[in-house]
Amino acid sequence: TTHSWDFMLLEKNGVVHRSSLWNKASYGEGIIIGNLDTGVWPESESFSDKGFGEVPSKWKGFCQNVNHTDVTCNRKLIGARYFNKAYASNGGKVNSTTSTSRDYDGHGSHTLSTAGGNFVPGANIFGVFNGTAKGGSPNARVAAYKVCWPPINQDGECYDGDILEAFEAAIKDGVDVLSVSLGGEPSNYLEDSTAIGSFHAVKNGVVVVCSAGNDGPKDGTVTNVAPWIITVGASTIDREFDTYVELHNGQRIKGTSISKALPGGRFYPLISGAQGKAANASAADAMLCKGGTLDPEKVKGKILACLRGENARVDKGMQAALAGAVGMILCNDKLTGNEIIADPHFLPASHLTYKDGLAVFEYINSTDDPMGFITPSTEHLNTKPAPFMAAFSSRGPNKVTPEILKPDITAPGVNIIAAFTGAKSPTENELDKRRTAFTTESGTSMSCPHVSGVVGLLKKLHPDWSPAAIKSAIMTTGKTRDNTVNPMLNGSFVKATPFSYGAGHIRPNRAMDPGLVYDLNVNDYLDFLCALGYNQSTIQLFSKEPFSCPSNASLLNFNYPSITISHLSGSVTVSRIVKNVGSPAVYAARIRQPHGISVSVEPNILKFERTGEEKSFQLTIRNRIDGAEGAPPGDYVFGELLWSDGLHYVRSPIVVSSN
């Protein structure tokens, strides 16, 4: 966040333009952002209440402080609660660290400060990379709902029962935005605590933003796919932390990390993890530099080249350091390929791509006396291309409802510097006693609160907009090009698709004035469930008012801001309604045809005479089955619908798969 907001808001040298969303929305003043996560480190400067006035009268929450050791709220951090009964019911230990909203992990403080933390000048990681950490809605109040605990098993650490209770609490407390950087396997909406909780939240006007998941780049991995959720993928910003590996044969290889320089400015002996293996360890385990697999006699004073796998990235060089290594080169395996991440390592380190790692191992194996050097990390801004999609970011298609494109949007989620816990080191090793108030993290967990922060600003600016209107504004103003003005790429540097980025990369300044929105209300969501085939009596249980499924309930006509046709056979017609949220204007439609598909729009001109006016239109989507250029069966093809009055550009991705 020391640079991500500048990147999104196009600020130069930290100067906030007067037409920026930040200025227009008073930096989110009066808004309350809740976070379902690992709690909060209340002493963080990101949550200091200096300069904050009285707590908004609508706030009904509180600071839950059972053991008095613990979390004190203030006029910035106005709520902190914890929910652990579902964790306990599955065998989780309840003790002083699991009966508190204090964040012993760091994840919750990071995400909450990204969404709504103060501006904190002088934020750094172990003294390097000084900058101003920034929350998206820095004048908003924040509340932590702790639902994630130390893992018991492989199942995950945030239990459904606790998540539902936290949603209940947040709705009752009066939050405006909920940021939820967690998720499970994609599942049926009515058996998914996030989908259920967020449905009730949205019904009460609370906007819910969730992370898409980190199971990319495989297709069909996106989670939190309910249409009432804003689902967020992760992409890069135009900043890199470069750390070069220099080999004695003259090769200089660019890697990344956040670490200090090797002492002495000289070359050091270089060995692979396998060469440093302990007598009782396997070479495969030693290559991963796992604990207990390295022989200190062999490793001491050397740079160790480790393969990224179960251990070396997670422990951030701790095992290499314990074995006496002076530095670590972390090499991707084939699976992790080009994805390199600037982690704060315990010792001088550089993270290399698979291809570059192979060059290092080849040098080690072909040289009698291999030597190397690792330069200190340096920050580079204005890197190109940016943004590009993180390889880890989960992708569509949506396995629960293929007719709804997910994720909805992408935002910065790689190498994000934000607040951290004071309870542990970012290397996550108990032996590492260093503490830092800020650290870098990567994941869709980090992109999600960026969107939550923007939602806080939009809520402030447009208090009358529905959660769906806010979502539509964010989606239809997203961009699909990077800073080279070419189509956005994915982690392997090939062209990304809406399955990675949804409607594109978020543009907060555009989102405040989208021109038109695709709005939805609770009954639309109930109609959506009817169209999915849920029976009338089940759906009635969601509604206090008498409700009956429309006879023509259709997923095709669900007023979503993106358009997805699954298994197109012949042609279909899709209806949408747009609402004018700007001045009177005349909009014209433009279509970018998906390959092998013809799309027409009727009418292709929409004239709005007043704000709030709604107009409908129809898209007819036809497979060019008669021609050689028809869409290949089963494959997805991508296009775009654009409405513009010359001032606003209202974009919807079109995604089609053919039968």
Binding site: A86, D155, G161, E168, I171, G184, E191, S193
Partner: protein, 94 residues
Amino acid sequence: TPAFALKQSYIVYMGVHSHGPEDAMTSVSKVKNSHHEFLASFLGSTERAKEAIFYSYTREINGFAATLDKAEAAAIARHPNVVSVFLNKGKHLH
């Protein structure tokens, strides 16, 4: 046999409450009682139901979280006032 059946924690989701938000606070105990009574009709006694339920969702979400065996969960899922019954599983931080 049922007496030794494996107990696991489940979420029983029943949709939305019929009460409005303004009277939610006053009806918390009423809702809790109704959840206890509802579950008692499957478990045989209110005491057992009270022991089994560890969360009653009383304000906006209608439902509860309880420790049940598979057969009990399956029977509850068939009730017309129940939307879904699912295992209380863990999600991951992203």
